[in-house]
């Protein structure tokens, strides 16, 4: 019980520290939020203007929602993915990683604490963007299965946390270039996951890659739930796949992180750099 309380306090410590960092870097956070809102609005306006762009009769309401789901889900997933790996990058730059790794806590607690914050912060940011974007468009969600959409997002949170933990290995081992590789991975996911289009429009050789990305299943599930009002039963395949990916990625990511940490300790790569 005492050990559990210790681990819980440590996990809260990571959340508290990251909240404090957000407060200290609040200008940067506000700037990024404004950019994200502008980006979400720009993408969604493409849907609103599609009739004029194509000269064809299109279902503007459906297209607008289609794009909005893409932009919001991607916003949420990228915040979760980025923040987990950036936490390690930040610790590398500041040189505090040695102190964190020296602390008597499990690596799971360490990464869980970072993940917990990223989920909460990602959700908050996305909700704010949704609130602003909703003010610009008349969104008819009367037929949407919002509960089902929430379940899909929950399952996605697990798998993207796992992906974030795997991504965190890169800055641990390569403080200078690790995060750049994380951005490359993120960019590939953006292209192959069908954030703004169905994956079927991708060239044939790219389509198998979409099956590997958890974002593909989140977007499919969210769109089925919100656009088509699909019941939870119909969403189960997507939810199941996401939980399955999470069940592999999360413990696998923590294990891999542990192996990477051991490698870094064996080769003396934990020293301050940057």
């Amino acid at each position: 019980m005492k050990a559990l309380r210790h681990e819980a306090r440590a996990a809260c410590g990571f959340v508290e520290r990251n909240v404090n960092l957000v407060k200290r870097y609040w200008v940067m956070e506000v700037v990024w939020l404004i950019y994200s809102m502008a980006n979400a609005l720009s993408v969604t306006f493409i849907g609103a203007g599609m009739k004029q762009i194509s000269g064809q009769d299109v279902n503007v309401q459906r297209l607008t929602l289609y794009l909005l789901i893409g932009t919001l889900v991607w916003q949420y997933l990228s915040v979760v993915f980025e923040l987990v790996s950036e936490t390690i990058q930040f610790e590398r730059w500041e040189g505090t990683i040695e102190y964190t790794l020296m602390a008597p806590i499990s690596r799971f607690t360490h990464l869980f604490g970072a993940t917990l914050f990223s989920l909460g912060y990602g959700f908050l940011q996305t909700a704010l963007i949704l609130a602003v974007v909703a003010g610009f468009f008349h969104l008819d969600l009367s037929g949407a299965n919002l509960f089902g959409a929430a379940l899909v997002l929950l399952a996605a949170s697990v798998s993207f946390s796992g992906l974030g933990v795997v991504g965190a290995i890169l800055p641990l081992l390569f403080p200078e270039r690790g995060v750049q590789v994380v951005f490359v991975i993120q960019s590939v996911l953006l292209v192959v996951s069908g954030v703004y289009y169905p994956v079927t429009v991708l060239p044939h050789w790219m389509q198998p890659l979409s099956h590997l990305s958890p974002a593909t299943y989140v977007l499919q599930g969210m769109r089925e739930a919100i656009l088509d009002g699909a019941p939870v039963v119909a969403l189960l395949p997507a939810i199941g796949r996401l939980f399955l990916i999470g069940a592999v990625l999360l413990p696998g990511g923590v294990w891999l992180f542990g192996r990477a940490e051991r490698f870094a300790r064996r080769t003396g790569r934990l020293k301050r750099s940057g």
């Binding site: 309380r5 210790h6 306090r9 440590a10 809260c12 410590g13 990571f14 508290e16 520290r17 404090n20 960092l21 200290r24 870097y25 930040f90 500041e94 040189g95 505090t96 040695e98 102190y99 964190t100 790794l101 020296m102 602390a103 008597p104 806590i105 051991r262 300790r265 064996r266 080769t267 003396g268 934990l270 301050r272």
Partner: protein, 292 residues
């Protein structure tokens, strides 16, 4: 009857060589010529193998302040990192109060804390925010952590206002004081101090030294201290080891070490002892590795 001595820290044949990592996607230099490995290294410590610790054995008894003297690159920081569980030795055994640093890592981590020569913090956060984070990792609740942090920081004469200002606005000396407070906050029974007073003004240095002796006196802590400051080692340490090229070349009380080097008409200084035993001065950095 004299109480039986308890071993706080023991290294037996600890050896660490840093070898260049051969990433499959990078071009590598040709392998070193026979006999070259272990003798030389590039400045970044990555081109050639560097022997940072060479079958090093050391025993520190509970309650001692044990000093490690050596130039840059002699292996002091590697030794501290090995005990801190941050570097895995290639061979040998390292135990802290009987707990093996590899097999009982978590138990060792609960007993130790460390201050390194560079004060590593989240520089945008205040001392209090940094210390609270550190304290939570060691299971302290917020209230206890806040109380202890305030007491220690006041003891180190940190202004009340500074407790909540970003650390980037503080001088290096002040930052180092906060680093010391972070280590003291968790009341470790083995405190690893890696050149803790480097960069501090004389008054701050005195305050830190007083705090170290106080921690030993009041909390029964054992201290492993690396330093370049001979006077500090002389005044603070019960025993001193001189480390050179990853090897302990001498070990004893400051008085014993001084007695080994006869100087006509007076007692030798620790610096003279160091030069006599190693053949070079403390100011001369050694090849690679360190700050290994």
């Amino acid at each position: 009857m004299e109480a039986q001595a308890v071993t706080a820290l023991e290294l037996r044949g600890a050896h660490k060589t840093f070898r260049p990592i051969r990433w499959p996607w990078r071009r590598h230099d040709p392998p070193p010529a026979p006999g070259e490995s272990g003798e030389t290294g590039e400045a970044d410590g990555t081109k050639r193998a560097v022997d940072a610790l060479v079958d090093l054995s050391l025993t520190v008894q509970r309650g001692q302040i044990y000093g490690l003297l050596g130039p840059n690159g002699s292996g002091k920081s590697t030794l501290i990192r090995v005990v801190s569980t941050l570097i895995i030795p290639d061979r040998g055994e390292v135990t802290v109060f009987g707990h093996d640093v590899l097999r009982e890592e978590r138990a060792v981590k609960r007993l130790i804390n460390r201050v390194s020569v560079e004060a590593s913090f989240f520089k945008k956060l205040s001392p209090m925010e940094n210390l609270l984070f550190g304290a939570r990792l060691y299971g302290l609740d917020g209230r206890t952590a806040r109380e202890r942090a305030t007491t220690i920081l006041r003891r180190l004469h940190l202004r009340e206002r500074s407790l909540w200002e970003p650390m980037e606005q503080m001088s290096r000396g002040m930052q180092q004081k906060v680093a010391i407070a972070r280590a003291f906050l968790t009341q470790p029974i083995l405190l690893l101090l890696d050149e803790p007073t480097t960069g501090l003004d004389p008054r701050s240095k005195r305050e830190v030294q007083a705090l170290v002796t106080e921690l030993r006196r009041e909390h029964d802590a054992t201290v492993l201290l690396t330093t370049h400051d001979m006077q500090e080692a002389d005044e603070l340490c019960d025993r001193v080891a001189i480390i050179d090229h990853g090897r302990i070349v001498a070990d004893g009380t400051p008085a014993e070490l001084k007695a080994r080097v006869p100087v006509e008409g007076r007692e030798a200084t620790l610096e003279e002892v160091f030069m006599a035993l190693t053949g070079h001065g403390l100011g001369e950095p050694q090849a690679a590795g360190d700050e290994a």
